[in-house]
Symmetry: C2
Subunit: 144 residues, 2 copies
DNA sequence: GCACTAATACTCGGATAAATGCTGTCCGAGTTATCATGG
DNA sequence: CCATGATAACTCGGACAGCATTTATCCGAGTATTAGTGC
């Protein structure tokens, strides 16, 4: 239920990259950290994971940095979450295991997973493009 | 996103108690463990938390045990979750903290919390009575 | 048959320990742009 | 003006340490039922 700091940092960094989507030059880690207050040495490894997941692309060497590998509209918060935490995360491993022999535990496993699906659906509905747009135009409209 | 084993065990135990809701005598820990394969010494502390949360009532002494403190229809999976994990669990503490100064992080904090709310809503819609009923009558009807 | 005592079975709650994962740092290596220097 | 080499800036990736949380286990204490024992 609680997000790991890694995942949060990943989203912050990715959203920062989304803001610079139109720019030519890649964004350096130092810039992200300066703007958002994220520990730099830690962010390195996070961006590395995002790169391996195909969400982010990197440019090496001086004047290098990171940019989004796909259009911001095609990257959702759920993408970022599974990129960091891995897809193999069972929501309720104990219930699933016990559910092999106990009908009761099996029912619970289904319920937990239904809740997790609801959460994932919401995250899948939020793209980086949405957030970037709301970030620019003070999103007073969302607070009616 | 991943449930703690404690929470899963709590739900299993509570659902087992719900099945014996109509019985006079309380259910002993050993019976729950025998039926569901939960470590006994661990379940003691879990039931203690559920008791402090007012979800479960205990009868001390020989022939003692546990029973639900409320009607199974008035106990949801969300109740069990907050009883075990505590209500003070921020979903995205980092984003909330950074959101004080960064609009970007603030937007993310809202998004994470919206997803968490969706999940909590599903859990709030599932009562122990529901699950107990489905547990008795082989719930083939749910698999259309 | 009755009162009293001992044994038993259960809950209560804290202390403790091992395992695991999270968070963050450090360091060396690889890669590229930039700049200085010499021809 | 051009070529070459040094330097700086950045990414890559593993190793590692400190810390917190999780997952139990253990033990003593409290409480009520039950069985036994003596009168």
């Amino acid at each position: 239920m609680r997000l790991s700091a890694r995942t949060e940092y990943a989203a912050i960094a990715a959203l920062e990259l989304a803001r610079h989507w139109q720019a030519e030059e890649p964004v350096r880690i130092r810039e992200i950290c300066a703007a958002q207050g994220v520990p730099a040495r830690f962010l390195v490894h996070i961006l590395l994971r995002l790169k391996h997941a195909g969400i982010v692309a990197s440019v090496r060497g001086a004047a290098g940095g990171y940019r989004l590998a796909r259009h911001p509209e095609e990257i959702t918060l759920e993408d970022l979450r599974v990129a960091i935490e891995g897809p193999g995360t069972d929501v309720a491993p104990v219930s699933v295991a016990l559910g092999q022999r106990s009908r009761l535990a099996g029912l619970l496993a289904e319920s937990w997973e239904a809740a997790a699906r609801a959460e994932a659906d919401v995250l899948r509905g939020t793209t980086l493009a949405d957030l970037a747009a709301r970030c620019r135009s003070g999103d007073a409209m969302y607070y009616i």
